[in-house]
């Protein structure tokens, strides 16, 4: 079971919950479990082809999964996933 931290923008889709627990051996499976539990999150996180939406970043234990193995990145018990909107850096 992994913990998924929900950004403020997605909380209306998770009944206000800031973090939820979800099952899965990969990032894709964990996010899939989240989407089954809270269907309104699905179209915000995934594109039509089931890929991560372009402006959604997902971090596994602080690391961007796009630079790891994407949705195939393995998730261990107790791992933490964070969903965030992609943003340009601040003070540049």
């Amino acid at each position: 079971m992994a913990t998924v931290k929900i950004p403020p923008v997605l909380r209306p889709s998770t009944s206000g919950e800031k973090e939820v627990s979800a099952d899965g051996a990969t990032v894709g499976q964990v996010l899939g479990s989240l989407a089954s539990e809270h269907p309104a999150t699905k179209q915000q996180i995934f594109g039509d082809g089931g890929e991560l939406n372009r402006y959604v970043n997902v971090y596994l234990n602080d690391e961007d999964v796009r630079v790891l193995q994407g949705l195939e990145t393995e998730v261990g018990d107790g791992d933490v996933l964070v969903i965030l909107p992609a943003m340009a850096g601040g003070a540049f």
Binding site: P7, P8, V9, L10, Q44, I45, N53, R54, Y55, V56, Y59, D62, E63, D64, R66, V67, V82, L84, P85, A86, M87, A88, G89, G90, A91, F92
Partner: protein
């Protein structure tokens, strides 16, 4: 006349003006920060540039590129979205070269930035603070579209930005470490520092060098005002050049900014704290080698926030400020 031998190596050099003195920054080992005896952590002190940040390199490259291509001439007004450092660098360079500068920046940056920009004669247009850098970019793009008289270098999409690092920062590091670079860590903003250095290091060293991005995790008050569709990925960013991309929270960034100061005497800005934290993490995963990280700017612009002296819990607007 016989001159005394030079005691320090190298001498800082001799230049025809301040713009030419940009770059050639020191590389300093931070021994107290290394978690392992065989791993050496090196700080590339971009804070030693004339206006105190790595952006001096970028601004010079953007302006000289436009000059070489004949895109700007005397008296030209230059327009650029920036939350600070690039604007300050452009302001210094434009004042010396005789260009007018207008910068678009979020209203919630620290007051020192406003003063520095005004000091060099730049005009400031504020964008909504809750939209961060993305808001400044959007506003500047609209202004440029509405008035063809502006020249916008657009650091987020201009190859001259990474080019400054491909031809400057990376060769300097390679020279100082005789090509022995195992990991390079820098902050992810426009992507210029990471992409330019990454390409050069990969070209010269192949996969032996790991390129690591430290990324700001915006605080909830900033996140809360944004939708997932508002994202912005600077066009110069090519994620395939990165081996790792790790976020750092505002409070961790400040803890590490203090650590740099207290343990190594390095007075740096908040992004450098975040980058140092990631460099330390990467160093802990290696058995031996050289980890290089970028000290992107010095700390003067952040003094009013009290981050170097106050307990962390007393720092105002910790989560709603765009620290980097």
């Amino acid at each position: 006349m016989v001159l005394p031998p030079l005691q320090n190596r190298p001498c800082g050099g001799r230049y025809t003006d301040l713009v030419q003195a940009i770059g050639n920054t020191p590389l300093v080992e931070l021994r107290r920060l290394s978690p392992r005896p065989g791993v050496r952590i090196w700080a590339k002190m971009e804070s030693f540039n004339p206006t105190g940040s790595v952006k001096d390199r970028v601004a010079r490259s953007l302006i000289e590129d436009a000059e070489e291509k004949g895109l700007i001439g005397p008296g030209q007004t230059i327009l650029e979205p920036t939350s600070g450092n690039t604007g300050i660098s452009l302001a210094m360079i434009c004042s010396l070269k005789g260009y007018r500068l207008k910068v678009v920046m979020p209203e919630n940056v620290t007051p020192e930035r406003t003063q520095l920009l005004q000091m060099y004669g730049a005009e400031i247009v504020y964008s909504p603070g809750d939209q961060g850098s993305n808001g400044a970019v959007a506003m500047a793009l609209e202004m440029a579209e509405a008035d063809a008289g502006y020249y916008m270098p657009y650091q987020y999409g201009n190859p001259a930005n990474p080019g400054a690092h491909y031809n400057g920062t990376a060769p300097e590091v390679l020279e100082e470490l005789d090509g022995e670079v195992d990991a390079f860590v820098a902050g992810l903003g426009t992507g210029g520092t990471l992409m330019g250095n990454a390409r050069r290091f990969k070209d010269e060293l192949g996969d032996r060098v790991k390129i690591v991005a430290a990324e700001p995790m915006q605080g909830e008050p900033v996140q809360g005002l944004r939708s997932l569709d508002d994202g912005y990925i600077p066009p110069i960013i090519d994620l395939s050049l990165l081996d790792r991309k790790i976020f750092v929270t505002n409070s961790d960034a400040i803890v590490w900014t203090r650590k740099l100061l207290d343990e190594e005497g390095v007075f740096a800005g908040v992004s450098s704290g975040a980058i140092a934290r990631v460099a330390h993490r990467i160093a802990g995963e290696l058995d031996e080698g050289n980890v290089v990280f970028v000290v992107a700017d010095d700390g003067w612009k952040y003094l009013s926030s009290g981050i170097y002296t106050k307990p962390i819990e007393e720092i105002e607007a910790l989560e709603s400020t765009l620290w980097w």
